[in-house]
Subunit: 247 residues, 2 copies
Amino acid sequence: MLEKAALILDCFSPSGGPYRLSELSERTGLPKPTVHRLAADLVGLGWLERSGPRYLLGAKLFELGSLVPHRRDLRETALPFLQDLFEATRETIHLGVREGMEVVYLERIHGHEALRLPSRIGGSLPLTCTAVGKALLAFSGAELTEEVLSLPLPSLTPHSITDPARLRTALEKIQVSGLAYEEQEAASGVSCIAAPVFAGDNAVAALSVAVPRTRFRPAQLAPAVRTAALGLSRVLRGAGGPRSPLS
Amino acid sequence: MLEKAALILDCFSPSGGPYRLSELSERTGLPKPTVHRLAADLVGLGWLERSGPRYLLGAKLFELGSLVPHRRDLRETALPFLQDLFEATRETIHLGVREGMEVVYLERIHGHEALRLPSRIGGSLPLTCTAVGKALLAFSGAELTEEVLSLPLPSLTPHSITDPARLRTALEKIQVSGLAYEEQEAASGVSCIAAPVFAGDNAVAALSVAVPRTRFRPAQLAPAVRTAALGLSRVLRGAGGPRSPLS
DNA sequence: ATCTTTGTTCCGTGACACGGAACAACGCGG
DNA sequence: CCGCGTTGTTCCGTGTCACGGAACAAAGAT
């Protein structure tokens, strides 16, 4: 029963858009009466909302989602640095963490100029075609790198790297420089530069600046991103303590 | 069964803190084996996580919560204005909406100086003792005002307004000026100024600047807050269209 | 070493989730 | 205006699986 409720809620990933009863029934594979009953229950709990014939994710989920400790704490301590980075660049800023073989975005701030990007808070993208993802991958241990390279590389645009050899050399450069670049691999017309945030040897997060390709000036962005990432690393080291628990 | 799962998850509001099995059992009133089984199921779905003997809210909830349309869309269109406001003031910025007789915060951005405030993203506070809440209340129709005034007024600090008459005159001033003030009513040592965001006659949101009491200069903050709120109102009007559906 | 508290497993019982079928309410084209 | 496909809702008999007491195991506390 929980499982079926989860199936229903998962329909809303990643579009979030409203669905009708029969769409939910079709997408979940559950019979209509079952969806009807469960959806009603979920509405009662505030996990879904219903406006006319359409179902939407409910406010309660927003409330619960905001409380998830990992996400909330990191976002909270990172925010001042993201703001610094935004003020320094006035471009779109990302904060992301690794989850399996994907990057999950915890925060994304921007000004009035809306860049059309596939990244969304709470959403995930392949590690291999975003700057944040590459920064994370380059500092997540050799085993993960090998695993990623052994699988077919997904692509978001025609520019996404799909050649394992190219990716490998790219990762090596990132490990040396501490900076990850990406040009139109996640969205056409957008370039990106990212720096890893460390807590120990491995990256626990990464932050990036996304810029329209036409005005991408890496030399000017690099110091800002690096500074922000190092500042955050330092605060995390101090806050979590050097005793940082393994699990 | 869904209801019981919801009881468990609701234990994490508002602290979000980790709980042990028996704490969950006690807080929910459910017998231990039941909680044990449900918690295991929830972990399987990613709605809870378990580190050692402690349960935490899981990453899946963050993902789902980020998709809730009302919250996400408003937050997204408001963000550039929040950034403007932050750059102009370099103080803590809030974005909130009304939900029943409380204000729910959708966003809170700040710099390195951490103000100790009761407001949290996804969290809710009484309408009556926050600037955002008062701005919302003043423009949510007379019926709601009367209902709020007819009930005992909650307080967060000794400075919170508890006298209905005082609150009534305060609301009238807000309706005239389009600005809501609050001094140490939500947190001692912190003052706040808020402006409503309109979509039609009523406020759909409000945004505020929170400042340490000692450097609270309303005359300098007021124009900035008002400008941001009006800018957001204008964009919302344009985006949602003047045909804005009722439901 | 003993006791207390917490976590886990087991399992018989019965509540209630389940979904096919039948019905009602739309919306559309003729 | 009226059939007709689609979608939403209600009903209800069946069978399942959630339920939680009891008993056991593990971890701290004294």
